[in-house]
């Protein structure tokens, strides 16, 4: 295979480090990804060579900084196949991106009784902003149910869509791995005159993204899960919508004019980018995209699919009934995220023993408490894969789970 994981691992300083004489096995990309040296280098040289505040500076350094930032905007735009880079709004994380839609579009377009339709596997980032609108404006939040295997249950979709103004769903689940049928939901939303927002935090990092194929109107994602720095998120929106929306945060950059009496807003994207942007982080996200594209997103997807199959097979074969993996087992509708229950050992205890063997997995509710409640658990152990993981990592996970069982039954 042309996909050389061992070469890729070398790009990531943290994965080449020795931790307690074992090298680190990082299986928590769903929380945040590791960063390749290439990205760190670009951020460093931004600071060392062209750091200046962007826009309006007439000196060359400021021009270079502006160019570097706007250049990254083009890269992000191309990466998700948007044709207009002004449709790319930089935020601090996916959470802010979704809040922006709720506060700007939502405040302006939703009123009492209007329905926002979510799915039952959403991350808190795509729940709480809508609960907040329920409190402030009396909108209704409604939930698409899941099937036993963690897929979307669309049998009642017509009824669910009554009164809906927005369908807001994950592009990929951070708990179950489920890849929801976004296109179907986006089309169904449009059929009833509603819009569709996709929380693509777990989608964009892992597969080729094409907003026209997805068919949605807003797309939110976050830099730190895709080899980029912390402190940078993205909202893509259709320009017809963004143009009409009122501004969100107020301050510098987002205005055309300010007087003592009032202000006039700038055009997109700057309308939504108040204050000094996370310039180095934007440049770093551009570098992350360069890195991912140098590998190729279809290759990343292919690799993850193969590894996901391997993991499902290996874990099931090796651990049998001791291990429950929540979510779908069909790799065509799931990504490499595994929420697990092992024997009746508490997830915290599992992750503690795994950590002792240099394996990083997450134990908890993964910011998806409504889903945890549906699954009837308080927490799960979650392992998640990325381009830098390989079969040896999966084997190590299986070994460690085995050892955990032994440790607690001694």
């Amino acid at each position: 295979m042309s996909f050389d994981v061992s070469a890729i691992k070398k790009d990531f300083p943290l994965l080449s480090r020795e931790e307690n004489n074992d090298s680190l096995i990082y299986l928590d990309t769903a929380a945040t990804s590791q960063k390749p040296q290439q990205v760190l280098d670009v951020v460093d040289s931004y600071y060392q060579e062209i750091n200046a505040n962007v826009h309006r500076g007439a000196y060359r350094l400021a021009e270079k900084a502006t160019t570097a930032m706007e250049n990254a905007r083009e890269k992000v735009s191309d990466f998700i196949k948007s044709e207009r880079s002004e449709e790319i709004i930089f935020t601090k994380n996916a959470t802010e991106s979704i809040n922006l839609v709720a506060r700007s579009w939502g405040e302006a377009n939703l009123s009492e009784g209007d329905v926002v339709l979510l799915s039952s596997l959403e991350h808190h980032a795509n729940i709480v902003p809508w609960h907040q609108l329920a409190e402030s404006k009396g909108i209704e939040v409604r939930w698409i149910p899941l099937t036993e295997s963690g897929l979307f249950d669309l049998t009642d979709l017509d009824r669910l869509l009554e009164g809906v103004k927005l369908v807001a769903v994950s592009g990929a689940s951070n708990v179950l791995g489920t890849i929801p049928p976004v296109r179907i939901l986006a089309d169904a939303a449009h059929d009833v005159g509603a819009l569709c927002l996709v929380d693509a935090s777990q989608y964009v990092p892992h597969r080729p993204t094409d907003i026209e194929e997805l068919g949605c109107d807003f797309l939110a994602f976050t830099g730190h899960k895709m080899c980029g720095p912390t402190g940078i998120g993205v909202l893509w929106g259709r320009s017809e919508l963004l143009d009409q929306m009122p501004p969100f945060l107020g301050g510098g950059e987002m205005i055309l004019d300010v007087t003592q009496e009032g202000f006039t807003v700038n055009t997109i994207p700057w309308k939504f980018e108040a204050g000094t942007p996370p310039i180095a982080e934007i440049v770093g996200l551009g570098a992350a995209i360069d890195y991912l594209e140098s590998i190729g997103m279809s290759n990343v997807l292919e690799h993850e699919k193969t590894l996901t199959s391997y993991a499902l097979r290996t874990l099931t074969e090796r651990l049998g009934d001791d291990l429950v993996i929540h979510g779908p087992d069909d790799v065509s509708v799931r990504g490499g995220v595994f929420s697990m229950a092992y024997q009746d050992i508490h997830p915290h205890d599992v992750s503690q023993v795994l950590d002792d063997r240099g394996i990083c997995v997450r134990a908890g509710h993964h910011c998806a408490k409504p889903l945890m409640k549906l699954l009837g658990v308080g927490a799960t152990v979650r392992a998640s894969l990325y381009l830098y993981n390989d079969e040896a990592d999966v084997d190590a996970l299986a070994d460690a789970l085995d050892a955990t069982g032994e440790f607690f039954s001694q």
Binding site: H348, D349, Q352, V353, D356, G364, H365, G378
Partner: protein, 153 residues
């Protein structure tokens, strides 16, 4: 698994596998409180029956990791039959043992060794301070016990 052995001492695992004083008490005469760690989902319910300033009976019930459940179990054995003021001393010593110094922010944990005497088996939980996220697990039952006492007033 050297680091682990510090955390999961044999006596802790024993209380986890064979919890003591598990169950409920009738209220009244007992009082009851529920504790909850919203971050990890651990839950514990404590029923305690106090008469003439003595702990005459205590039961706990819960759902959570080995640390939260064994700590609650060990707590029940440590305080049964004790007077309220003795119990307060034990709670104080236990929390001292669990409290990490400012210094831990620099990466090292350090306990107040001096005050852990008199804790008996509970001293086994001392290893927890090396794992800061687990401290909340270890103290869950204890905070719930304190809530019970507030009911008494």
């Amino acid at each position: 698994m050297s680091g682990l052995e510090d955390l999961y001492r044999e006596i802790i695992l024993d209380h986890y596998r064979n919890p003591r004083n598990q169950g409920e008490l009738e209220t009244p005469p007992a009082v009851m409180a529920e504790g909850f760690n919203p971050l990890c989902g651990d839950e514990v319910k404590v029923h305690v029956h106090v008469e003439d300033g003595l702990i005459v009976d205590i039961k706990f019930d819960g759902n959570g990791c080995s640390i939260s459940q064994s700590s609650a179990s060990m707590m029940t054995t440590a305080i049964t039959g004790k007077s309220l003021s003795e119990v307060e001393d034990i709670i104080y010593s236990f929390k001292q043992m669990m409290s990490i110094h400012e210094k831990s922010l620099e990466g090292e944990s350090e306990t107040t060794e001096s005050s852990t005497t008199g804790l008996g088996d509970l001293q086994a939980l001392q290893g927890v301070v090396k794992f800061p996220v687990r401290i909340k697990c270890a103290t869950l039952g204890w905070n719930t016990l304190e809530q019970c006492f507030e009911e008494l007033d």
